[in-house]
C-alpha cells in the first residue's frame, strides 16, 4: 500500500495547486473588473442619509484603507492570500460589516445538502437502472423507462423545473414552491424543522433527479450493452459464475469506471447548475447568494462564494480520484 500512499500524496499536491490557481484566477477577474467596491459601499451607505462632503471623504478614506484598493494589485493579492489562509475573506458589502465567509457558511449547507443528495440519488439510481436495462435487454419495463428517459432528457432543465412548479405548486398544490424551510418553524435540531426541510426540498430535488436520471440511464445502458458482448462475460457464464454476480461484478463494475469519471465532471458543474435551481425555487443556498452578490457588486462575497465552490468541487473530485485505484486495479500499478 506504499504506492497508494504516494498516489494520495501526489493527488493532494495537485488538489492544492488546482485550488490555488482557481482562487487566484477569480481574484484577478474580480479585481480587474471596473466595479470599485469602495464606490459601491459608499453608494449604499450614503443613499438615504445626508452625509456632509467631509464625512463622505473620511468614509471613503476609511473604506479604501479597509479594502486596500489603493495598493498595487500584487500587494493586494499577497494580503488576500495571507488573510485567506487564516480564514478571513473580508467583510461583505451586502450585509456590511458581516464577514463574507459567515454568509457563505450560512448558505453552504443548503446547497451541499440539496446537491449531494440529488446527485448521488440520480447517479446511483440512473446507473443501476441503466445497467439492468443494458443487461436484460428484453425487459418491457426497462424498455419503457428507456423511452421515457429519451423523452425527458433533452428538455432543458429550467422548463422541467417550471412545469413541476406549476403542477405541484399551483394546479395540485401539495408542495411548497419556495424557501428552504417553513417560515414559522423554529430552526434547530428538532424533528419539525427537519421534516420542513425535507418537505421543501422535494420539488427542487426531484426536478434535478428527473432531468439527470435520463442522462445517467442512457449512458450506462450504452456502456453495459457494450460490456455484455465482451468475451469475459461469456467466459464467466461458462465458468458457472452466478448470473447475479455477473451483472454486479463483471458487467456493472466494468461499465462503472467511465461513469465515475463522468460523476467527477458533473460535480464540477453542480455549483453553476444550482444557480438556476435555487433561483427557480428561491432556495436559500449559495447560488442565490452569488446572484445577489453579483447584482449588488459585492465582490468580496463573490470571491468568497467562488473560492469555496472551487475548494469544494476540487475536494469532491479528489475523493473520487482516490476511489479509482480501489475500483480499477490497472490504475494501481502506476
Amino acid at each position: 500500500m506504499r504506492t497508494y500512499g504516494f498516489f494520495v500524496l501526489k493527488r493532494f499536491g495537485q488538489l492544492l495547486i488546482v485550488v490555488f490557481l482557481g482562487v487566484s484566477a477569480t481574484f484577478f477577474i474580480t479585481h480587474l473588473s471596473p466595479l470599485d467596491p469602495v464606490e459601491q459601499t459608499m453608494g449604499r451607505l450614503t443613499r438615504q442619509s445626508g452625509f456632509s462632503p467631509e464625512a463622505q471623504e473620511a468614509m471613503r478614506a476609511a473604506l479604501t484603507e479597509l479594502y486596500g484598493t489603493d495598493k498595487p494589485l500584487l500587494e493586494q493579492f499577497y494580503s488576500f492570500w495571507s488573510r485567506l489562509v487564516r480564514g478571513d475573506m473580508g467583510p461583505s458589502l451586502l450585509a456590511f460589516p458581516t464577514p463574507a465567509l459567515r454568509l457563505v457558511k450560512r448558505a453552504l449547507p443548503w446547497t451541499v445538502g440539496l446537491l449531494t443528495t440529488t446527485v448521488l440519488i440520480t447517479w446511483t439510481v440512473g446507473n443501476l437502472l441503466g445497467g439492468l436495462a443494458g443487461y436484460f435487454q428484453n425487459s418491457r419495463l426497462l424498455k419503457a423507462f428507456g423511452v421515457f428517459a429519451i423523452g425527458v432528457q433533452p428538455i432543458p432543465y429550467y422548463i422541467v423545473a417550471f412545469i413541476m412548479l406549476i403542477l405541484f405548486g399551483f394546479l395540485w398544490p401539495v408542495l411548497p414552491i419556495s424557501g428552504g424551510a417553513g417560515m414559522f418553524v423554529e430552526p434547530g435540531w428538532n424533528i419539525h424543522y427537519a421534516l420542513s426541510i425535507v418537505h421543501h426540498s422535494i420539488l427542487p430535488a426531484s426536478s434535478i433527479v428527473v432531468v439527470g436520471l435520463g442522462t445517467w440511464f442512457l449512458g450506462m445502458r450504452a456502456l453495459v450493452s457494450n460490456v455484455v458482448t465482451e468475451d469475459y462475460v461469456t467466459y464467466a457464464e461458462f465458468g458457472g459464475v452466478e448470473s447475479r454476480k455477473i451483472v454486479g461484478s463483471y458487467v456493472i463494475r466494468n461499465a462503472m469506471i467511465p461513469q465515475l469519471t463522468a460523476l467527477a465532471m458533473v460535480l464540477g458543474g453542480v455549483f453553476s447548475g444550482t444557480i438556476i435551481t435555487e433561483e427557480v425555487f428561491s432556495y436559500p443556498g449559495v447560488g442565490t447568494l452569488l446572484i445577489d452578490a453579483v447584482n449588488a457588486g459585492d465582490y468580496t462575497l463573490v470571491l468568497a462564494v467562488t473560492s469555496i465552490s472551487i475548494a469544494t468541487v476540487a475536494t469532491a473530485i479528489f475523493v473520487i480520484d482516490l476511489l479509482y485505484p480501489l475500483l480499477d486495479p490497472r490504475v494501481r500499478v502506476r
Binding site: Y235, G240, D328
Partner: protein, 305 residues
C-alpha cells in the same frame, strides 16, 4: 460407438441492416458432422474470415441457436437446454477457449477468481482446500501452478501465460470437448507452438477432443486428425486431415494450400502468387453443388454432373 457431439444439417441466418434495407446473411449452410465418443481427436475447422467457422463454434457452445437443423450433445439437443441446471450440465462437457486472452478475463478481477468459480460450480468442489487442489491440478496440466497465478490480474500476465490460464480454467470440469476459436492468433509467434503442442497433449494424455478453429493451415496440418474446410458458410471439403492437406481437391482448398508461404528459401526467390485461375474457380464454385464422398474417406463439394 455413439456420437458425443452431433451437428445435423445446421444452418444459421443473420438479419442485417434496418427495417428498410434488411437482408439476410447465411453464415453457416447445412453443416453436418459428428464427434465420436471415446475417440479423442483434434478436429479442425479451417476457413477465411467470414467463412462461418466462428458462428459454427458459437452454435456448438450453445451461444447461438441454429436457424434450422440441430446440434446434440450426448443425444440432447442444444435447443432443449434451458435454465441454469441444464446449462451447467452442458458446461461440464464442453468448454471454450477464445481468441484474445486479454478479453477473456475481466480486467478488474484476479484471474484465479474465474478458476475458483469453475471449480466451485462446475466441479462441485467444496471448501478452500478442495477448490485450491482442483485449480492447481488444472494449472499443472497447462504447465503452470496455482502459486504462479494466484492473486494476479490479467494485465500482469503475458498473453501466452494468460491463454494457458484460460485453457486451465476450461479444463477444470474435465470436459470431453474443448472448442478453441483461434486460440493462437493473438499469441506471440514464438509462443504459438507451445499452445499448439499443449492442445495436442490434451488429446493424447487427457482424452480431450479439441475442436480447433483456425485460418492457419500450417498449425492445422501439424496437429489435426480430421479437418473441415469452410468457404462462405459452406463446407467445401471434409475428411482426414493428412489426405486433404496433402492433396486438396476443391478449388478453394487448393487455393488455401497454395497460399501458405514457403519458408524453405527465404529471400531467394520471389514468392509466386497462387495461380489466378484457382482463385477464380474457387470464387465461382462457392456455394454450388453438394458434398460428394470421395476416396480416402473425404467428402468434397462438387457440382452434380
Amino acid at each position: 460407438m455413439s456420437a458425443i457431439l452431433e451437428v445435423a444439417h445446421v444452418s444459421k441466418r443473420f438479419a442485417m441492416g434496418g427495417v428498410l434495407s434488411r437482408r439476410h446473411v447465411e453464415a453457416v449452410n447445412d453443416a453436418s458432422f459428428a464427434i465420436e465418443e471415446g475417440q479423442p481427436e483434434v478436429f479442425t475447422i479451417v476457413g477465411e474470415s467470414g467463412s462461418g467457422k466462428t458462428t459454427l463454434a458459437r452454435m456448438m457452445l450453445g451461444l447461438e441457436l441454429p436457424t434450422t437443423g440441430e446440434i446434440r450433445l450426448s443425444g440432447r439437443s442444444m435447443a432443449d437446454r434451458r435454465g441454469r441446471a441444464a446449462k451447467i450440465e452442458f458446461m461440464r462437457h464442453a468448454q471454450p477457449v477464445f481468441q484474445n486472452p486479454f478479453e477473456a478475463f475481466n480486467p478488474l478481477k484476479r484471474v484465479d477468481r474465474y478458476l475458483d468459480a469453475s471449480a466451485r460450480v462446475l466441479l462441485g468442489a467444496r471448501g478452500r482446500g478442495a477448490i485450491d487442489a482442483a485449480m492447481d491440478v488444472a494449472l499443472h496440466k497447462v504447465g503452470l501452478s496455482l502459486a504462479e497465478v494466484r492473486g494476479r490480474y490479467a494485465h500482469e500476465l503475458s498473453g501466452g501465460q494468460l491463454q494457458r490460464v484460460a485453457i486451465a480454467r476450461a479444463l477444470i470440469p474435465n470436459p470431453e470437448i474443448l472448442v478453441a476459436d483461434e486460440p493462437v492468433s493473438m499469441v506471440d509467434a514464438s509462443l504459438r507452438m507451445s499452445i499448439v503442442n499443449l492442445l495436442r497433449d490434451l488429446r493424447d494424455n487427457l482424452n480431450v477432443t479439441v475442436i480447433y478453429i483456425t485460418h492457419d493451415l500450417a498449425t492445422a496440418y501439424y496437429i489435426s486428425d480430421r479437418i473441415i474446410i469452410m468457404q462462405k458458410g459452406y463446407i467445401v471439403e471434409m475428411g482426414p486431415a493428412q489426405t486433404i492437406l496433402e492433396s486438396p481437391e476443391h478449388p478453394y482448398a487448393r487455393l488455401l494450400k497454395e497460399s501458405v508461404l514457403p519458408v524453405d528459401d527465404p529471400g531467394r526467390e520471389r514468392v509466386q502468387a497462387p495461380d489466378r485461375s484457382l482463385a477464380l474457380a474457387a470464387a465461382e464454385n462457392s456455394g454450388s453443388g453438394r458434398l460428394v464422398p470421395r476416396t480416402g474417406g473425404r467428402s468434397v463439394r462438387m457440382n452434380a454432373e
